[in-house]
């Protein structure tokens, strides 16, 4: 094995020299050094990757398989000693015939659609403006990124104050613009307004994230393409539709994918702002899931619901990755 012979030669040269490295090599106990030298590259790779794989299996894969198993049983987490019986597909059947869960799905769809639409439009527009490199653009980029860096718990709490009808700043700004008295409407207490209150907060918090990804896309477009377009006397509008948008599209799609998956799981902000109310107007799927699992203690049914959501997001992500690859290949 020539590779080993080479290593031995190098080692012997190092040993003979009186350099610091040689001394360190000599100080290493011989059995350990020989044991390490005996490991192949492949084994070494496995050695490094094994902790990550074990962690992934323990934290992600095992709970997933356990949840699939529980979804076919009558297990209740508040009665851990009760015998677990298989119920077949009955949990799935109940979840898929429950009008309340169906309603929660519609609320989730409404929330996901509007947040993604607004975040993408505003995020891309902001990225386009920041990319112009005006005076102080680095400062404004940092300012715009601040909401994203805050904890959702902090954001939820201070937006509750902002939405207060008596002292809230939001109501006063709306009143200043529209002339409607500030205490005449309640963003979090109204059936019509509460879904929009959550959409506004989520858009405020996560638009910078979309902006950041879009900015990376815009910065990756080489200048010479624009220079060639200018030589061809292409208008700014034409440059935008023929160069900027198609070349930034994979990045926009990536941002939409990330935000879409995150928003399907939205829980913290809704809990902090409305808790699913008034009534069940803002009860998104994750809140219904939590109620099934930890208030009604129907763990089996909650697991079935979680698996349904997982299949939906997984299926959509598959289509999305396929579309993303097609766009990249163009």
């Amino acid at each position: 094995m020539p590779k080993f012979r080479k290593e031995t030669q190098v080692t012997s040269v190092t040993d003979t020299s009186s350099s610091l490295l040689g001394k360190a090599a000599n100080a290493t106990p011989a059995p350990i050094a020989s044991r390490i030298r005996g490991i192949s590259d492949r084994s070494m790779a496995w050695l490094f990757i094994t902790p990550a794989i074990v962690l992934l299996l323990a934290i992600n894969i095992f709970p997933l398989i356990w949840a699939i198993y529980l979804s076919f049983t009558n297990f209740r987490a508040n009665r851990p000693n009760a015998p677990i019986e298989g119920v077949g597909l009955s949990n799935y059947s109940r979840v898929l015939n429950d009008p309340n869960i169906w309603q929660a799905m519609q609320t989730t769809a409404h929330f996901v659609f509007w947040t993604i639409l607004l975040q993408t439009l505003i995020g891309f527009s902001l990225a386009y403006l920041i990319d112009r490199k005006f005076r102080g653009h680095a400062f404004w980029t940092t300012v715009i990124l601040v909401p994203m860096m805050l904890s959702p718990a902090v954001v939820g709490n201070f937006w509750r104050f902002l939405y207060q009808p008596q002292i809230g700043l939001f109501n006063y700004i709306v009143s200043f613009i529209t002339g409607v008295p500030p205490s005449s409407f309640e963003m979090l207490g109204s059936v019509q307004l509460s879904p929009w209150a959550i959409i506004i907060v989520d858009t405020w918090m996560w638009t910078p994230y979309v902006m950041l990804i879009c900015l990376a896309g815009l910065r990756s477009i080489p200048d010479y393409i624009y220079e060639a377009a200018e030589v061809d006397r292409a208008s700014l509008w034409r440059q935008f539709w023929s160069i900027t948008l198609p070349m930034a599209l994979p990045f926009i799609m990536l941002a939409v994918l990330f935000r879409g998956i995150e928003n399907f799981k939205m829980f913290d902000m809704v809990t902090l702002l409305t808790g699913g109310g008034p009534g069940s107007t803002t009860e998104v799927a994750s809140i219904t899931l939590k109620r099934e699992a930890f208030e009604s203690w129907r763990t089996g049914r909650a697991s079935a619901f979680a698996i349904i959501l997982f299949v939906a997001v997984f299926g959509l992500a598959n289509i999305y990755v396929k579309a993303l690859n097609k766009v990249k290949q163009r």
């Binding site: 898929l96 299949v311 289509i319």
Partner: protein
């Protein structure tokens, strides 16, 4: 007149073993299942959404392993 070597005709794979069309069918099923899951019109669509989604996802996983 030049003699030409006869080119053996390439056998076409059956429709259900071709990656392109089957991937399109799977994508269509996933999209349909997704719409059925979140639509606000008929409960029966919501009830059958998981089956549609699952079928689409399984087909997609299998056919994406087929050669181009």
């Amino acid at each position: 007149m030049t003699a030409q070597t006869p080119v053996p005709s390439k056998q076409k794979r059956p429709f259900f073993l071709r990656r392109g069309p089957m991937e399109n069918i799977a994508t269509g099923l996933i999209g349909l299942g997704f719409l059925m899951l979140f639509q606000p019109f008929l409960l029966i669509f919501y009830t059958w959404s998981l089956v549609t989604l699952l079928a689409g996802t399984l087909i997609f996983i299998i056919v994406s392993k087929f050669p181009e």
